[in-house]
């Protein structure tokens, strides 16, 4: 006779709703999900092994390509870790500029998240609006570093070049424009009945489970745990800024959506304070033998030329030891553990990927609910496969 069995369905590596090459193997009983198993590794690049065979400077562009939606925060994490290892103190202006760029990166990443999450749930126009706002931020990136996405503008010891002349005008324009348009997006989605039905009560995780699964970032804050590395262990001048940390209540997808919108607003607030209070000073620390001298000095001074040549070809010797530096990237806690064995190449660079650890909680979020909640949950975790697979 007919017997009831579960169906195994494969949401394959190529799928319009999986934000990249993620494969999810589902066991379904009708429309209810019984078991879910994410399979990753389709974008594994061996970045950690590549960075072991290059000098500290040459390994910097590889960090851009991991979380490719927030490239400047990866650079920032790596440079802070190397500066901690070599005990370099950067000037004040560099700290404020780095904080401003990191906050613009957060706006960039959250806008892309908003666009892709909304189009997964059916709201197509949100994608076009989000990418239109993103062009303003990419304009700033191009003025700073010459490239739209992988700028590698934040270097060891400071920045790559001097900040562009109209940097403050551009950033203030972004702050003004995105602040107004956020209200439009709220009108589109926040009180929308379809959006509320698809996200309220979906992909719920409680606070103890979130700490047990080592979640971080908006996943952890959405469940009520008020933990943000910018306030807990401040880095790169964040103690000078005045901002709040939004916290959710229920831990479902709707709370995380409201939380990320509020994070965009706080980021714009920090960027505005950074521009208004930016101190004067050099754009690079002066540590001969470790930090590259400014390009203009090479034409006039012999020592700068020698140091430049030596640092690019041979690098600098790092002391024996290991450091860990964590920053608050848009996805969560991004940490770099750099271990050195005394030579000029890193012995081991470990990247603690927030998206990888957050994705491990997918079975917990989804088992027992309906099939269309899987798509909502994957979007709500905010994964970037380049960081999950490295």
């Amino acid at each position: 006779m007919l017997e009831e069995k579960t169906v195994t369905l494969n949401m394959g590596p190529q799928h319009p709703a999986t934000h990249g090459v993620l494969r999810v193997v589902l066991e379904l009983d009708g429309e209810t999900v019984v078991k879910v198993r994410p399979v990753i590794g389709y974008l594994h690049t061996g970045i950690e092994k590549t960075m072991e065979s290059k000098l500290y400077y040459h390994a910097l562009p590889a960090t851009d390509r991991m979380d490719y939606l927030a490239p400047m925060s990866n650079n920032l994490g790596y440079c802070l870790a190397v500066e901690k290892l070599m005990d370099i103190e950067v000037p004040e202006k560099v700290k404020w500029a780095r904080a401003c760029l990191a906050e613009l990166t957060r706006v960039n990443s959250h806008l892309v998240w908003l666009g892709t999450h909304a189009i997964d749930l059916g709201a197509m126009s949100m994608l076009l609006y989000a990418f239109r706002e993103r062009e303003l931020v990419l304009d700033v990136y191009e003025a700073c570093g010459g490239q739209r996405m992988m700028t590698s503008y934040i270097r060891i010891g400071g920045l790559a070049h001097e900040l562009p002349k109209d940097f403050d005008k551009k950033v203030l324009k972004i702050v003004k424009v995105v602040r107004e348009r956020l209200n439009d997006y709220e009108k589109l989605l926040t009180d929308n009945e379809i959006f509320i039905n698809r996200t309220k009560g979906v992909a719920v995780i409680s606070a103890e489970d979130a700490i047990n699964y080592s979640l971080s970032g908006p996943m952890l804050r959405g469940s009520g745990v008020k933990h943000d590395l910018r306030k807990a262990n401040p880095y790169s001048g964040y103690e000078n800024f005045d901002f709040e940390i939004p916290v959710g209540k229920n831990g479902d997808a709707y709370d995380r959506y409201l939380l990320r919108l509020e994070e965009i607003r706080q980021s714009l607030r920090i960027a505005q304070q950074a521009i208004e209070g930016m101190p004067e000073g050099p754009y690079r620390a002066h540590v001969p033998g470790v930090v590259l001298p400014p390009k203009e000095d090479i034409l006039y001074k012999m020592e700068s030329l020698i140091f430049h040549f030596k640092i690019i070809t041979e690098g600098f010797q790092a002391p024996f030891g290991a450091v860990y530096q964590a920053i608050e990237s848009p996805k969560g806690e991004l940490g770099f553990y750099i271990s050195s064995d005394g030579s000029n190449k890193p012995h081991r660079v470990r990247v603690r990927p927030p998206a990888f650890v957050n994705l491990a909680a997918l079975p917990r979020l989804v088992e027992g609910s309906l099939f269309s909640d899987v798509v909502c949950a994957i979007g709500s975790i905010d994964i970037v496969l380049g960081e999950v697979d490295r």
Partner: protein, 167 residues
């Protein structure tokens, strides 16, 4: 179609060629195979600032059975290579492939055990676009060159024997 190979070379066939090519190149349906960072620049190209719909690519199909052009955007890892080949074989003729970015053209920045050094080791590629990632204008330039290339095709070509062809 097997019929056009049996028709002898004549002027009617070249006019038919022009008409068919005109129809094909202005209504390509891309199958956006976005893998990594280049996929974000591809999405930017399809969005409103650098609108690609004005060149006829209004509709991006998610299924390979309904698509014409496969834009391999991003790095192809060794685990993903069989999937790429399966998807290419599922696409019906006529089909074209654009390798977008340095990683899809030649392995790019990553020269190690885990990345296939260029997607043309697995599938035949028509247009290569350099850049890491290429700007939206570069992608549009590549697509326009592909349209020129389609304009020079003929119905009598045997599509199954296509390999790497010079423009």
């Amino acid at each position: 179609m097997g019929l056009e190979e049996k028709i002898p070379d004549s002027i009617i066939l070249t006019q038919l060629d022009k008409m068919v090519n005109w129809g094909r190149k202005w209504s390509i349906w891309p199958f956006g195979f976005g893998l990594a960072c280049c996929a974000i620049e591809m999405m930017s190209t399809f969005a409103s600032h650098f609108d690609l719909a004005r060149y006829g690519m209004e509709v991006t199909r998610a299924s390979p059975r309904q698509a014409d052009l496969m834009i391999v955007a991003g790095r192809v890892s060794v685990k993903m290579a069989p999937v790429v080949k399966t998807l290419y074989e599922q696409m019906p003729n006529p089909k074209w492939v654009i390798a977008m970015g340095a990683c899809a053209s030649c392995g790019g920045v990553f020269n190690n055990y885990a990345i296939v050094q260029g997607v043309d080791r697995i599938i035949p590629v028509d247009i290569y676009i350099p850049g890491c990632p290429p700007r939206p204008e570069q992608l549009m330039d590549g697509i326009l060159k592909l349209q020129e290339k389609i304009g020079k095709e003929s119905l009598k070509d045997r599509r199954e024997e296509w390999g790497r062809r010079a423009v």
